[in-house]
Symmetry: C2
Subunit: 224 residues, 2 copies
């Protein structure tokens, strides 16, 4: 029995390409273009592009404005506030639930690896790698927890937050504390200490939100 590999179709291509352009800020916040133009750029007709855009709109990355085309959503401090509030609610509970299952070292390996990668990245001053590893930690944690809907929701929000994080990444202190947070959380998970895991995670997200929002508000970045 073969696993049905979803054949890459044009809609899927358009979706991937556009999402990548947006995440990478190559299509910056506020960028706007009519469907025909995007279609031309992607070398396909309007139909698959339109369908991809509908998905991206549902995921909160673009806005479809009648007669004006698709607009890449701006990065507003309020949006990040909303997003981080949700992180702060969901992730600590998910992590605590995972801790309660008394996961084995082997199971936690992806998290150990991600944490190690974060530390390595700090040593080599590679902030992009750091951000990537940080992301991986959070995603793997959710996978381990196993609630697929929860994963889906949070991944959508990670995508939304990604651009802001990349922009602010170099405007703040080296993320020593954040890296240490991960180390601590991992430790609590290994010990199966649910309450400690939850508390640590909550603090982790509260701090992250505080830092991010400070930067966004102080620097008044050109995010529209």
């Amino acid at each position: 029995m073969k696993t049905p590999i979803p054949k890459p179709t044009r809609v899927a291509d358009a979706y991937e390409m556009l999402k990548d352009e947006i995440r990478s800020n190559r299509m910056p916040p506020g960028f706007q273009a009519p469907e025909p133009e995007i279609a031309a750029r992607l070398g396909m007709s309007r139909t698959p592009v339109r369908e991809a855009l509908i998905r991206l709109q549902a995921e909160g990355l673009v806005e479809l404005i009648p007669r004006r085309g698709a607009r890449v959503l701006p990065i507003r401090a309020e949006d990040m506030q909303e997003i981080y509030e949700i992180f702060t609610s969901l992730e600590p509970d998910a992590a605590a639930a995972l801790a309660r299952t008394n996961p084995t070292q082997a199971q936690l390996q992806p998290l150990t690896d991600a944490t190690a990668a974060m530390e390595r990245a700090l040593d080599t001053d590679d902030l992009d790698a750091w951000a990537e590893a940080d992301d991986q930690f959070h995603r793997h944690l959710l996978n381990l927890h196993g609630n697929r809907r929860l994963s889906g929701i949070l991944e959508t929000l990670y995508d939304q937050a990604h651009r802001a994080r990349m922009i602010t990444l170099r405007l703040r202190e080296v993320p020593l504390q954040s890296t240490q947070d991960h180390r601590d959380i991992l430790e609590a998970l290994k010990n199966g200490d649910a309450e400690r895991t939850r508390a640590l995670f909550r603090r982790h997200r509260e701090r992250a939100a505080f830092e991010l929002l400070n930067i966004l508000e102080n620097y008044k970045l050109p995010l529209l």
Copy 2:
């Protein structure tokens, strides 16, 4: 300045109609039909139907199976478990945050009304009205809290859970406890007691999940 009223377009119609059919179980879990058939039934071409279906898929109500058409997702106990776990994480925090703002009686009026409606519905043995009022309570609460993304996420999940709730509504005891929960939560909100609000809400959702899952598993309902 006039508020731009989103003119009802065919896609929007298709979306609303299909969503309504699904929520009401007129298109029952497991129902499957090819796009052309749905389009014919709605009296429009495939294009708007397809676009509506893409949205509904993103919202977890249908599944688009290549060559087989759109399929209304089944109601599985595991899905409800996932959903209620998310409720249990998000709503208590949101309610606690609201309590922390020391809301006035006037602000809480929609919740008072909803609670009263629940009690009235119990008196008159109108379970549908009860469910409706229950829903309203939760939605209004989120509105008051103000995190739009949070509202969006939870509303999507309410929709997903709706069908299961309606099916099980008459298979369980009269929801006295649940109604009382709302009364208590409202009281805690009025008192601005964040921690009590959170605790009550969490218990409320935990109990609801327990009951719902029990019914789903025991009755082995034909939900596929």
